[in-house]
Symmetry: C2
Subunit: 715 residues, 2 copies
């Protein structure tokens, strides 16, 4: 069982097989062709040979290694078993010889007219744990590697994992270990652990094979039998596609970066369709850009006005003096292509296409036409069919919605206008500090990976949160995410997760939503934090820039309410974190501050009715002890320590600690009457992610920060 | 394989075995004793017999049915296989005879000094799908029945289901079908479907056995081999406990009802420890009861005051003229027992023990003393260690917290004071209509089942939502829930889900049963809706009384934002509902109201930018068509249909439909700027469960209503 790494794959052998198939107009390979591909990439499959005499059968069997299986080879006998043409478990030369004679005789009896080419001798696959190893071509991500446990587990419970191909060995081992039932591979009920390295070899080799030969659309090693001494594919299947869909256009990182820089920090903006008539989109856009405080040049374009919203208007884009960086379109769809020619001639970096009436209403043709114009001029398109975009560091509200002015570290994007409005309302209501809110709509051109590339290098952005229904180029997104994640968290809400949801996505944008598990696995592989719902997308977006990154896994709960402590503990475990087992000396130190009946260990239950000083001392201790990496606070509203008193003391203690260089994430759950709402807001403004009436959300956002920190390699 | 139903179980046989074990001080049964129990309850186990000669072995084998297994029986040979003392697959009289002789000879060679009692002949268990059937004694619920798929599935994936024992046949079939991998029982990969009825027989029989004989602490049929023709337990194991913990005291339904009636609708209340001193609990309680508007008599008890908060004070409870229904205690723990004697003498129905300082601080003795006094007088105790209780229909705020006056249909209880305060704050902030908020604290006496009994019959309560950490008597709770659920929803947040202790267990079944899944399964079996977190407990409590019960499973989404439609579809599936496949005539009817590019099917995507009339017509159509059973609305904030316009039109359409007797649940997700908050509140006040900035919560509360409606037998 040589692996490709020892001698390198035999690409010529594969090329020859595929060329023959293409020449013959086939999209499937025969079993021997499949074996040839496997052999070329060092994928262990049972050796086999054709024998035309009993002596030859014995010789081949000994070469291949006993035991073997013997099968009649005849173009006229379809059902080999019915014809007595199969013998298994042949474990001696004598048994092989007898089987050869018996099989041939039986076949002649079964059909005296049958042509008999001989007997195939195949090495028996050693028994072992059944797994499935495969590769497929995902419409979003391209070549992906698939690993699943065989039999019931993959068939009934769909226990399979997906990763981008090609895979590193470490990726492959991680993929194998990610199955829910991976424990099976360690041997259960007295069985031996299988050789995971051998399985990883197969996964890596197959992923390289499909990467080297993109015309291999699907590859299926199923079942693979894995044991302590190796792994062998008992069956191999390949499906070819010599006419794959064209991959989406790729821009270089530098190209993307420079276009996005000009779009987000423009010196001049043209508003095509700017209007003085209230209620018109071109009016709202002008008003928001000007009233929002944008400091660059703003050129309204309107052939029927001399002036729009106090700025001199131009009859056409061509009339604008000098160049423009961005043109915001607020004219009907059918006029966009024409005006875009002028925008292109002006050397603009980007066009923001607010109008609808393109692909989403069946006018793919109009959208294609506009894209062609843009490509000719090197103009990047945002939209069409969007609300526009906000970038608070430049006081830029190029949108027909209301302006937004709470600057901060969160960049949010949405594929849907409705979701964009929810993001706007939520951000305003919670005072979320935002760097950008961007609608991407039909994504004729600019996709999430372009935006991610910009936000990744934008010092004003400290976390990126994206709502998406599909990705035009999943692989480009993964590459961008891998580049950004080590520096800042990327949160994604992928809509259309369930099959019902995926169907709705199909009818909405014509997007093809893939199997959700593929997205889930590959986004996680890229280090993306996936939000389970819209509310979490926004809450993670709000909290992640506020919380410092944890430097270790030791989470401690300090609570005034035992009941909150129990729920917070549930939430810590639910969110993939672990409660620190507090060592005796630290436990004693906590105990010195709390009543004798306060609970030992973690949660630290300071009990209800304690004065502010008890909260203060225990929280300070948790912050100052270097073994503690994150704090979850449970507050209980009492007369002795009212909500705002608690909020102020926590803010002070945290600020003091940060001044001393102690920068740990602190989250809080506030239980109490309505005063806890203002207290939570105060805490949030002072760097503590605090929430009233919920024990889940503070721990969820901390869990999101942890998932990011792990993906970023900080832990 | 006779089932117990054909002849009835042989209880005498079981009694004899158990009596012998008890007399011998054993807590485990031998294999023959286990077989005797199985035989007595018609549980099929392999027949077996002892043979002392080869001829006898043949005769026994033929009687039992071939094939058989033969095993040496010798008190001196522990490792039968090592001694060559086992033969399997004996399928003819000749094989049995030879095996007998071979085994005995081998055993003699192995240990010439060994005493040989003979050879055990046991029928071979027919092969089949491996399952586990068991019973255990749960500390909360008592006897429970366990069903799991055998081998890897139960060991690695813990795929097991739990139900209260004894079980009906229907319960057993439902339990079997509830496994995640139940599909395996229908035959996968070409296998036959197993006989589920036979498995149900075993489950029912075992559950009856452990119910009839409570000293059987654990029972384990593992593995059971199930096939198309039946099921047989290959191994049987019992663990006994002749000294089980005492069951909690039970009250009759009538007793509970009459005590609770007097506690929630008292004519007179004594406040023991009432005080004029601001900041004291006894002062807050008095003030809240009086200021809250309670119309009954209020007697402050304070030996040092003539008057408290404008009411004549009494030196002791004994001095109060006439009887009292409830005494609220606001005195230190050590004085409670003494005062309770007087309260008992006054014939009070209940005592509300606000003070802490009992079991939660290690003073179980004080708590036991108080309970003993209460039992002697027939006084029921709420608490100790609670914030008190609210019952808005009587304007009763017997608590030291702030009063609550938004009357409505939701009764909420909490085991923790901190959680109680969160409930109070949330309710006030959202304007939730509440019938009661009750703290149960240490639960020295009154448990959730008592409260549930009252709320079940209370016309002011339309839904019950309970936070609990444990149940003193899980079986009593299930009985109360079963009684209440057909009339109104019961929601439970069970805290401490992940901290389920790993208790030492004597069997595989016992180990499986130490899990949160037991609560989950048995609460669901009782028809309880489980809330995944604190926020959901409160949101379900708020929304369930507002929503009418659905009359069928056909959910339709009507949305102005396609993006919301996708997320709402995801949420519908996530929450166990199904999107109605809209038939062509109804689809056409919807299409008549929406733009040509609006999406067909479900979601009904009316597209953004539509006027109020489009929302109105489509929503009315959804309400009026009898095939549609529930509506999920997705609103998108636009200038054309602003939030409050949408809210008012939906409220009007729903009101008009309800006036015509069309009473369907309607929920809404509002995407938009902050005005959607007021719009959501307006909708909630008009019978539509509406939420801003979330596509998940409206669907979650609808899902909770559906889960209840199914449990209540309405669907």
């Amino acid at each position: 069982m040589s692996t490709p790494s020892s001698s390198g794959p035999d690409r010529d052998a594969v090329r020859a097989v595929l060329d023959r198939a293409r020449a013959e107009g086939r999209t499937a390979l025969t079993a021997p062709e499949g074996k040839a591909l496997a052999d070329a990439y060092g994928i262990p499959v049972p050796g086999e040979a054709l024998a035309t005499s009993a002596d030859e059968a014995v010789a081949r069997a000994v070469e291949l290694g006993l035991p073997v299986v013997a099968k009649i080879v005849s173009p006229d006998i379809l059902h080999k078993t019915d014809a007595g043409g199969v013998a298994v478990g042949l474990d001696s030369p004598r048994a092989v010889q007898e089987a050869y004679e018996r099989i041939v005789a039986a076949a002649r009896r079964y059909d005296p007219a049958a042509r008999i080419d001989g007997v195939q001798i195949q090495r028996m696959v050693p028994s072992g744990t059944e797994v499935l190893i495969g590769a497929a071509t995902d419409p979003t991500f391209g070549k992906i590697a698939v690993f699943g446990l065989g039999g019931i587990l993959v068939e009934v419970l769909k226990d399979a994992a997906f990763r981008l191909a090609p895979l590193s060995r470490a990726d492959a081992l991680e993929q194998i270990g990610s199955l829910r039932a991976a424990e099976v591979l360690d041997g259960v009920r007295g069985g031996e652990a299988v050789d995971r390295e051998a399985l990883a070899d197969l996964l890596v080799s197959l992923s390289e094979l499909v990467t080297d030969f993109p015309e291999i659309a699907e590859a299926d090693l199923n079942p693979v039998f894995a044991s302590a001494s190796g792994a062998m594919a008992a069956d191999v299947r390949f499906v070819l596609d010599f006419d794959p869909p064209e991959p989406p256009k790729r821009f270089g990182r530098e190209e993307i970066q420079s276009a996005m820089e000009r779009m987000f920090r423009p010196r001049s903006i043209a508003v095509v369709g700017a209007s003085n008539e209230a209620g018109k989109i071109g009016n709202s856009v002008m008003r928001n850009i000007v009233d929002g405080g944008f400091a660059g040049e703003v050129y309204p374009v309107n052939p029927k006005a001399d002036e729009v919203y106090g700025r001199r208007a131009y009859a056409s884009v061509g009339d604008i003096p000098g160049g423009i960086d961005v043109a915001v379109f607020a004219i009907p769809a059918q006029f966009v292509a024409g005006a875009l020619e002028e925008v292109g001639a002006k050397g603009a970096a980007g066009a923001v296409l607010i109008p609808s009436g393109f692909a989403e209403t069946g006018r793919q043709d109009l959208q294609d036409e506009v894209l062609a114009v843009a490509r000719r001029h090197g103009v990047r398109l945002l939209g069409p069919n969007i609300y526009g975009y906000y970038y608070t560091p430049e006081k830029l509200s190029a949108t027909f919605c209301t302006p937004y002015d709470v600057a901060g570290g969160t960049a949010l994007t949405s594929q849907s206008g409705g979701i964009g409005m929810a993001i706007l309302g939520f951000s305003r209501s919670t005072g979320t500090g935002v760097s950008a809110i961007v609608g991407v709509g039909n994504k004729a051109d600019i996709d999430e990976d372009d935006l991610l590339t910009f936000f990744g290098s934008d010092d004003n952005t400290r976390a990126v949160a994206m709502h998406l229904e599909d990705l035009k180029d999943g692989r480009a997104f993964v590459e961008a995410a891998r580049e950004v994640v080590p520096r800042k968290p990327v949160v994604v809400l992928k809509a259309g997760r369930t099959s019902a949801g995926a169907k709705a996505a199909g009818s909405h944008t014509g997007a093809l939503a893939g199997d959700d598990k593929v997205y889930d696995d590959i986004l996680r592989q890229a280090g993306v934090v996936r939000a389970p719902g819209l509310r979490e997308l926004m809450e993670y977006g709000r909290a992640l820039p506020v919380l410092p990154a944890p430097k270790g896994e030791n989470v401690v709960i300090i609570t005034g309410a035992g009941g909150s402590g129990v729920l917070l503990s549930d939430a810590v475990v639910d969110n993939g974190m672990s409660l620190y087992e507090i060592p005796p000396d630290l436990d004693e130190a906590f105990r010195a501050f709390i009543p004798p009946f306060g609970a030992a260990g973690n949660p630290v239950d300071i009990t209800g009715g304690e004065p502010p000083s008890t909260y203060e001392k225990t929280i300070r201790l948790g912050l100052e002890d270097p073994r503690v990496h994150a704090l979850v606070l449970g507050y209980w509203h009492t007369i002795v320590t009212p909500p705002m008193v608690f909020a102020e003391l926590v803010a002070d203690v945290v600020r003091a600690a940060r001044a001393e260089g102690i920068d740990k994430p602190v989250v809080a759950s506030l239980s109490g009457d309505t005063e806890v709402e203002a207290a939570s807001t105060h805490l949030f403004e002072h760097g503590v992610a605090a929430y009233p009436y919920t024990t889940e959300m503070p721990v969820q956002v901390l869990g999101a920060k942890y998932r990011w920190a792990r993906a970023a390699g900080l832990l």
